[in-house]
Amino acid sequence: MKKTKLGFIAKAALVAGGMLASNVAFAGIDRAEMLANTCAGCHGPNGVSHGPATPSIAGISKDYFIESMNAYASGSRPSTIMMRIAKGYSEADIQAMAEYFSKQHHQSAVQAVNESLVQKGEKLHNKYCEKCHSEGGSLASDDAGILAGQWKPYLQYNLHDFTSGNREAPKKMAKQLKAMHDKYGQEGVDQLIEFYSSK
């Protein structure tokens, strides 16, 4: 129900954005760009983060962006600062930013990895995670967060929040993660992180 409503607003925003864009003779500045520009200070130019921890949001799935912002604003997703920032925007604003960042190109973080952990992590990924985070967690169209090429501390924080129970995972994920964690423990988590940060 909520999704339908958001979808409608998205279309309205797109139409309005399109009307504005047709009037400008140069690479126009629409509301989406205006809003997205304010994120660059922490998330990097065009949403590509230079690290060491803040995630890249370039190329993010629209739905996942919206879901994340709403979860931060409601407090259901733990955060340091995003719960304060996310409350500053209307649904239309969030929709516009989601649209903007989904069109930017994701660039993988360049960071040191331990190759043997990467290989172990890949096996765990294929067994427990690939079904939803397909192609090694690199596809935005999964409507899950892009895991491939994210900064390592960010992956650590989020997996820590899931495994410690601070953050609620979707049902299927909770089940898979628990199975993985029960069998491989924190080592398994570290291996997964190493795999994603190597991609």
Binding site: L20, N23, V24, A25, F26, A27, I29, D30, R31, M34, L35, N37, T38, C39, A40, G41, C42, H43, G44, P45, S49, H50, G51, P52, A53, T54, T80, I81, R84, I85, A86, K87, G88, Y89, D93, W151, P153, Y157, H160
Partner: protein, 430 residues
């Protein structure tokens, strides 16, 4: 022979005609030209240049900046504690130039608002259609008897513009004996980077705790409260014994006589209502005002800051000149690096729109200020701003401070502080 002469004559005439055309273009603004001259290549100016070029490649953008080497004021407190090196806060203009932005290293001596030209000490005169002034702050040295730019340069640094004075202050801390006293004189409102002096106190305390644990820091403050005070005090208690007999930090607010009026340079002794304080290392952060060029160009109000239109950052005193960053009166936006970066993008949108004869889109701003109290203990304040009723207003219900102490989250805030530094500098200078 006559052929050659004629050819030369023709060539000469053509060159002369081109010369006249060029001169005309350089001194008068035409309706269709898009020349933007940016005075000051700090966080505000460099961001404005980058985003103008990104928004509309056909805009001719020129930055005039005094120094080829830029050191960020933010994170320079970590240089004082030894957490990072000067080289990590050093930036240059190579990448900006590579994007087709003209960068002139020169000092602006005047802005002719009627003639729409900017003059430099090097003898250049540049015509503009829009001018963006981002001069940062200047200091009211005269507010403290005995203090001056020379004293700051030679022996008692303010280090409130990062660079040689940051290195001097760091060296003085290294040279100080264990058991010495550091005195930090905080500035009155408004000033650049509201949490900055208190982060500096924290970073110096962090260095002393590890290397010179019998030393003290006295903070003499002309205010009774300061930014993120609750979080700083809480952190000082946790790390530096604050409010105990063994406290490394003593903060003396205005109500207890913390307002410093005088300094004896030779003995590094400052005088305030609470008495005389002799320092081994003395850091005076003087009261502030808009950068000098803002005064020379007549862009300031009677308080020494630049009033602007809150949507476009165009000066309310002179048309076609915009003022951004610390020098502008943009409250509730603070005088911070993030705010300057955010203002510059809104200003770039206003200028690009105006030069193309278009209405500007509704603006939006963000500010985030991180401070690191001790290794692994980071805090922040954030806000989202919108344009409402002709003014910049903070969005109600959003923003605010870091919550109650949680070691895991505080560690994350330190890494996010460092991420903020990497990303904002990539945005400004990358």
């Amino acid at each position: 022979m006559s052929n050659i002469s004629r050819r030369n004559l023709f060539k000469g005439a053509a060159a002369g005609a081109i010369g006249v055309a060029a001169a005309t273009q350089a001194t008068s603004a035409s309706a269709s030209s898009k020349r933007v001259v940016i005075v000051g290549g700090g966080i505000g100016g460099a961001t404005a240049a980058q985003y103008l070029k990104k928004m509309d490649k056909s805009i001719d953008v020129t930055i005039i900046e005094k120094n080829p080497d830029y050191y960020t004021c933010f994170m320079s407190n970590e240089v004082l504690s030894g957490e990072r090196q000067m080289s990590s806060i050093h930036f240059n203009y190579d990448k900006i130039k590579a994007k087709g932005i003209n960068v002139i290293f020169d000092t602006v001596t005047g802005i002719d608002a009627q003639g729409q030209t900017v003059s430099t000490a090097g003898g250049q005169k540049l015509a503009y259609d829009r001018c963006i002034v981002s001069p940062g702050v200047d200091f009211k040295y005269e507010a403290i008897e005995g203090y001056s730019a020379e004293v700051a340069h030679n022996s008692i640094p303010h280090a409130w513009k990062a660079g040689p004075q940051t290195e001097m202050l760091r060296q003085q801390l290294l040279d100080m004996k264990d058991g010495g006293t550091v005195v930090l004189v905080a500035p009155p409102n408004p000033f650049r980077c509201p949490p900055g002096p208190y982060e500096r106190v924290s970073q110096i305390a962090s260095y002393l705790k590890e290397h010179k644990p019998n030393s003290k820091i006295v903070v003499l403050d002309p205010k009774d409260k300061f930014s993120k005070q609750g979080l700083f005090v809480d952190g000082w208690k946790r790390h530096y014994g604050y409010e105990t007999d063994a406290s490394m930090i003593k903060w003396i607010p205005a109500k207890d006589g913390g307002t410093v009026t005088k300094v004896d340079v030779a003995s590094k002794t400052v005088t305030c209502g609470a008495g005389e304080f002799k320092a081994d290392v003395l850091n005076i952060i003087p009261p502030q005002k808009a950068g000098k060029i803002a005064f020379d160009a007549g862009l300031v109000d009677d308080k020494g800051w630049c009033p602007i239109d809150h949507k476009t950052f165009e000066s309310t005193i002179h048309k076609n000149i915009h003022v951004i960053g610390d020098a502008s009166v943009a409250a509730p936006l603070p005088k911070s690096g993030y705010a300057a970066n955010s203002e510059a993008k809104v200003c770039a949108a206003a200028v690009a729109s105006a030069l193309n004869g278009l209405e500007m889109v509704e603006p939006s701003w963000v500010n985030t200020c991180y401070s690191v109290i001790a290794p692994g203990d980071g805090i922040s304040v954030a806000a989202v701003y919108k344009y409402e009723g002709g003014k910049i207003v903070a969005v109600k219900g959003a923003g605010g401070l870091t919550g109650a102490y949680d070691p895991e989250l505080r560690k994350r805030e330190v890494l996010y502080a460092h991420s903020w530094f990497a990303n904002i500098t990539a945005d400004v200078f990358g």
